[in-house]
Amino acid sequence: MKELHKEYIDELNGLQDKEGKDIAEAFLSIFQSMAKASKGNIKKMLAMIKLSRKKLIRDAVGLVKESQGKARELGKEFGQVKLNAIEANASR
């Protein structure tokens, strides 16, 4: 059981790192596009960042929900593995 627990933690750590990194990089990539579009105009770049806030946060909510879905799946799988192990022990 401890080995299965360890495998689950490794997968969970990987998922946490990946999802956080992906969403943060998506934001930075959009900001880079804004910088490019503003063509050196700082005021324009700041305005773009300000005006996009609502939309970007809304998009981020969607991405976080997707991440939660993956986390839910991973948790459920491990839960089932634990249940199977308990049943196997009980039937011995």
């Binding site: 900001f31 910088a35 946060i57």
Partner: protein
Amino acid sequence: MNQIDSAYGVLETDMLAEIQRMRALGIAEEEIFRRLEASLRGSLDMFSKFKGAIEKELDIVVGKTAQLESNAVMSEVEKLKWQLDPTVEEHCPDCLRNSTMTKSFEEWANLGLPGMGNTQCGSYCKCTLV
């Protein structure tokens, strides 16, 4: 999600402050812009702070969701033990205490399921009920 929104707000404030600081130092607008672009590639603190805030938020959300799901499945099991995270050598006092007890799911839920923030290791807890 409020955490990401507030990190966005902090980023806007930090950017403005940094631009004003550079202007006060007499740095040319072109150079300020060049530095902002460079910081977007992760070379300055401003955006890395924002990136860190998002990563931290996802760490918590993903961790809590998976932990809750993996333990909620066990709700029908009569007695459950608190199994310590096997990937770390040191555990917080709450987890160590919990690992000596056997309880029903409901009792654990009242005390706080692993990873829900009721132990000193908080939402970073990767212990599990077995």
